[in-house]
């Protein structure tokens, strides 16, 4: 058979192409280079790092620490990539990073690169904050190790560490961090970063813990780094050319938003709403006869059920925050040191007490006799445990020492949220009760609703004044954390801030004023349905507003970190 010459050419070319494509996929380096590489034997690089690791283990009262020679750190960042490659980290996971300090003037201008990882603190905040005891400070080496399988992924250590060290992995549902290549040191090998520094700027040395504690008082750790007195970091930064007085982190004037933690936003707002509802309920039924006598039978269970439901919804939301919620029960382990443990336990008690309390309120429905004495005790217990849990919530954030989460500010915010959201629930219940009991709405409103509205107005306005006051820091000359927060609130997060105040104003000020208006309620001009819808709107808008506020609480919380290191 004769072939068309051009098609013969084409098929020859196709064959050639196939050969090339096939050849491209065959890996030949091993067979082509017959050189035999020793398959065993000790690490060949040991000769470069032998002097960079201690020859003996630390004595008691001593521990291993990183020592960084700042004069030798040229900012090449090989340490970061080596740590990543030799520890087999996830694609975006960095356990080491390099920051930058800039200062001086003209002739004496200084750019100082600062390599940094976990400081294996004497008093690690990650460890004390962990609710499940997933951190341990190795008794022999002092290395702060994270027990990956013990972790529930609550990320509280991320908030607690002033150096932004623990890294959360979404895919794994846990945090991980530098362990100073614990295994390598145990085998007489240097940590990856020590091995990889071309200039031998990083070494492992033995430090005396008490000396570090004493020295931490003098803040001699590193200029522009977080106060060492808090956790007593052990890394030693040494230099023969002292940094200029005006040295600032290279990113000093940039502001970075922090994680918004949506599940926590919902958890905090809903649980505080619940606590608020229980509190208001206690007050209303204790002091107002209308509630005690006429509404008790009809809407009280509804009121209580709503309060309870919100609480459980909030606690449920918190599970979405956890990387591994199936192990959440471990959280009682850290009770001794961790405010997060305490918060979780306190909410457990609150859940139990309030459930019991609410159940009791339903007894009459099942033909059981209402038990006033127990009601009172359980009601008080529910409210008290709710307040305790709320206090623990406050402390969870206060204990991170973030300057924007100071006790006064945080406790005021959380408590006011309780009231701001608890009051409209009571108002709604009042209206519902009036309707169910066939009472004239305007008389109920005149007797009780107006009071609730007034209190709501005051509380709502107070909360917004508190939040607006944070923006006053914009005028500050210094770039304090508070000013950074204000810059975020007014800048990058500006739209959210605006929405927050819109919802807060309409729900907490404008609508209550409408309900309070002369000639509206009192003269009975408002249609009952209008009043009901307005009240519902107040509740919804305020809830949305508080959710916004709480998002901003997190997203503009301005975390501490090592100077000039990009935030994780």
């Amino acid at each position: 058979m004769t072939q068309n010459p051009s098609s013969a050419l084409q098929s020859a070319r196709n064959e050639f192409l196939d050969e090339l494509l096939e050849g491209q996929q065959s890996l030949t380096a091993v067979t082509q280079f017959a050189q035999t590489y020793e398959s065993n034997g000790s690490p060949a690089g040991a000769k470069y790092y032998r002097d960079l690791i201690p020859a003996a283990a630390p004595n008691s009262g001593e521990q291993y620490a990183f020592e960084v020679d700042l004069d030798a750190c040229s900012g090449c960042k090989a340490c970061v990539t080596a740590c990543h490659a030799l520890n087999g980290l996830e694609e975006n996971e960095l356990w080491r990073n390099v920051g930058q300090l800039v200062g001086g003037a003209d002739e004496a201008a200084v750019v100082q690169h600062v390599t940094t990882a976990c400081h294996h603190c004497v008093d690690p905040a990650c460890l004390s904050g962990c609710p499940v005891e997933a951190y341990e400070k190795d008794p022999l080496t002092g290395i702060v190790r994270h027990l990956d399988d013990q972790c529930i992924g609550c990320q509280y250590c991320v908030l607690k560490c002033p150096y932004d060290v623990p890294v959360y992995s979404k895919s794994k549902g846990i945090v991980r961090k530098c362990d100073m290549c614990h295994d390598r040191l145990a085998a007489g090998e240097a940590p990856a970063c020590v091995q990889a520094c071309p200039n031998q700027a990083i070494r492992i040395r033995i430090v005396d813990q008490q000396t570090l504690v004493d020295e931490s008082e003098a803040s001699s750790f590193l200029p522009a780094a977080p106060d060492p007195a808090y956790t007593v970091p052990t890394t030693v930064y040494k230099s023969n050319r002292p940094l200029p007085q005006n040295a600032l982190p290279a990113d000093f004037f940039s502001v970075q938003r922090t994680h918004g933690h949506l599940p926590l936003v919902f958890m905090l707002v809903l649980t505080q709403m619940s606590v608020g509802a229980f509190l208001i309920e206690q007050i209303m039924y204790s002091y107002f006869s209308f509630f005690r006598e006429e509404l008790a039978a009809s809407v009280r269970p509804l009121h209580l059920f709503a309060a309870l439901g919100l609480g459980f919804l909030g606690l449920g939301a918190s599970l979405f925050h956890l990387g591994r919620p199936q192990y959440a029960f471990r959280a009682v382990l850290g009770l001794r040191t961790s405010w997060l443990s305490r918060e979780i336990v306190a909410f457990g008690i609150f859940a139990a007490a309030s459930t019991a309390y609410v159940s009791l309120a339903f007894w009459p429905y099942f033909g059981l006799a209402a038990h006033d004495g127990r009601q009172t005790v359980l009601g008080a217990a529910a409210s008290a445990s709710g307040l305790l849990a709320l206090f623990c919530s406050v402390m969870v954030y206060v204990d991170t020492r973030r300057p924007c989460w100071k006790f006064s500010q945080t406790s005021a915010k959380f408590l006011l949220t309780s009231l701001v959201l608890g009051l409209p629930i009571a108002l709604l219940i009042l209206i519902a009760g009036a309707a169910l009991n066939g009472q004239a709405l305007h008389s109920v409103m005149t007797d009780y609703g107006r009071l609730l509205c007034r209190v709501l107005l005051v509380v709502g306005a107070a909360k917004m004044v508190l939040e607006v006051s944070e923006l006053l820091h914009l005028k500050g000359r210094q770039h304090t954390p508070q000013k950074r927060r204000a810059l975020l609130l007014a800048g990058e997060l500006g739209m959210i801030t605006l929405r927050r105040f819109f919802f807060g104003f309409v729900g907490g000020v404008a609508l209550p004023l409408v309900l309070l208006a002369e000639g509206g309620m009192r003269s009975g001009q408002y249609h009952p349905l209008f009043v009901g819808v307005a009240t519902l709107l107040i509740l919804v808008l305020l809830t949305i507003g508080e959710l916004h506020e709480r998002y901003l609480f997190f997203a503009a919380s301005v975390a501490a970190k090592m100077p000039g290191v990009p935030a994780a």
Partner: protein
Amino acid sequence: MSTNMQQQADAVRQAAAKLWRSENGPLTHDLVQQPGKFGLGRLPAGKTPNATTQMVCGFCATGCSLNIHLRDGQAINLTPTVDYPVNSGMACPKGWESLSVLKSSGRGTTPLLRNGRGKLAPVSWPEAMAAFRDRLQETQARHGVESVAFLSTGQMPTEEMAFLGALAKFGMGMVHGDGNTRQCMASAVVAYKQAFGFDAPPYTYQDFEQSDVIVLIGSNLCIAHPIMWQRVLKNPHRPEIIVVDPRKTETAMAATEHLALRPKSDLALLYGLAHILIAEDWLDRKYIAAHTSGFDDFCAHVAEFTPQRVAEASGISAAQLHRIANIIHAGKRVSFWWTMGVNQSYEGVRTAQAIINLALMTGNIGRAGAGANSITGQCNAMGSRLFSNTTNLLGGRDFESAQDRGQVADILGIDAACIPDRPSWSYNEILEGILRDKIKGLWVVCTNTAHSWINQNTCRDILDRLDFLVVQDMYSNTETAQLADLYLPAAGWGEKDGTFINSERRVGVIKKVVRAPGQALADFSIFRLIAEYWGCGRMFADWTDPEAVFHKLKELSRGRPCDISGIADYQMLDQRGGIQWPYPEEGGADNDKNHTHRRLFEDGKFYHADGRARFIFETPRAMPEPPNKRYPYLLLTGRGAAAQWHTQTRTACSAVLRELAPQQAYVEIHPQDARREGLRPNQEAIVESQRGRIRAKVFVTPTVQEGQVFIPMHFEQTNQLTHAHFDPHSKQPSYKDCAVRVRRAESWDDV
């Protein structure tokens, strides 16, 4: 209770305890290490290799060796090679991340052809090859064979460069082709050629460790060449480190003397130093007499560069100049090093030669710890300089010499008439050729012109005028590939074999340890395919694989200064830890004894016919676009972070490298200037030149001088500002001097 029940109870208790506390499980195992064997130390259990192999890094010209961890022949990780004469167990972040940049959604997996709707659409290789042939041959038929040109690179193995150069010029009839090495090395090449008689950087990295005075001019070694800086820090002689740079760079900060001169006053400053050395008679007169020519004329030339005059021009005081001259005089082993601060200048050649002159007049050349040493940029710029067949005929020969053409024709077994009798246009001349309708088809291989070329807006406009633009690259998402009419997907470093030549003339191998994505092919294979389709397949019938071409290169180098005929094969390069040229076959025993570190000119013999080095000089010129009333600041460009490489085509593909580099373009400005312009740190600013307008974050720092601003070159927008002017001898673009203004960005700014 039976034991069985007891056991069950224990098991339940244990399980319960584990639920409560779990210190050992899959998450813990994820990070567990095992001895890596192969001399590697401990490695993550999931990443222990069953073989290793070494190859040279594919980023910069330092030429570090990377030890590739293989599992079943496939690369899974790497560490720097411990016993390699270049990097002794260290690498910079780019080297560490070499493998991860290969995995990227930006990789080309199939040829792409611009279709009727103007979109790049996937086509088969045969379709792509037919389009390549038909469109380019049509262009040549209509506008002449010279109307198609190529742009090559310093990033491919030498064998591929030689193939490209030979295929384009001998097989396809092209006359004009140049490489991106024009942007980094051309000035050094011309400086060496004119001064030494051949393009021959004379040093070995050991010189960093042996000097007692190290002079770095226009070089931020810490950031641009971290592993060379390692060698400086290993120097046991407590060397004086003199850094000449307008900016207070990391390197300047580590120096013992920093000369923060005015930009582009370097030539005057170097002549000023020569003036003092002559005036004080701090010369090696014996060396000058025996091995150089033109010194007297040079003396006359520098006579007018008095310290006072130079101080005025450079801003460096006469006293400091004198002190530096004295340090050079007092040094026993003085080495001079330069990089882009010198090369990327409109008078880069003469500046480099002014450095060479200092070395010659003080006898600091051909000795340990001495030399006038140009540090190269790209991993294979040195290979390109010898074998890219662009400016020079293969092997550093001359296209205009019939004898040279005859030699090449004989060695390659081709007709000498196929070889053009004149050198190529340079990069800028090719682009100008497009403007003048002389060039209608362009084949861009392994470089990113639309990002890196000076005065970018004009450059892109020029590329748009082509009838047919072919881009052959690993990545289909480069700025240039986006402009292409035809895109050819290439395999990259790690996916193919070949050799690189590093900055100290060391030839090293690269190997195929990763499978290329999709239908990507090694550039070498693409050239074979093109030869076949073009109809010149027979000319390249024995160019079957890179090593076969390597043997041709050996023959092409035989008897020339860059003689590598003594290198048996890739295997020998692999076993020796690279071999520096020259390595002639005839050298025999001497080769073996000295193979690890060798420097040139130890015998004082240079490559000019008379064996003497030349003093070459010229009167400095003012920069063409100094700061002025409308554009009051001088824009400097350069390297940003060690984690960034050139146009970031590759480095942006690594999550780690992205983390380690600034995400956004920024402009460094002095605090006084920032105050004057009302700029606050971290604010958005608009930087404008006559040619373009870009947005950048303000970084206030005293490391730049007043009246100057600095923007790293890695950001795409930077070259919108730069002013296209060139060294007249080397045609290298002068990237580091143009006038700009800076102001706060307003919300209505549209950039």
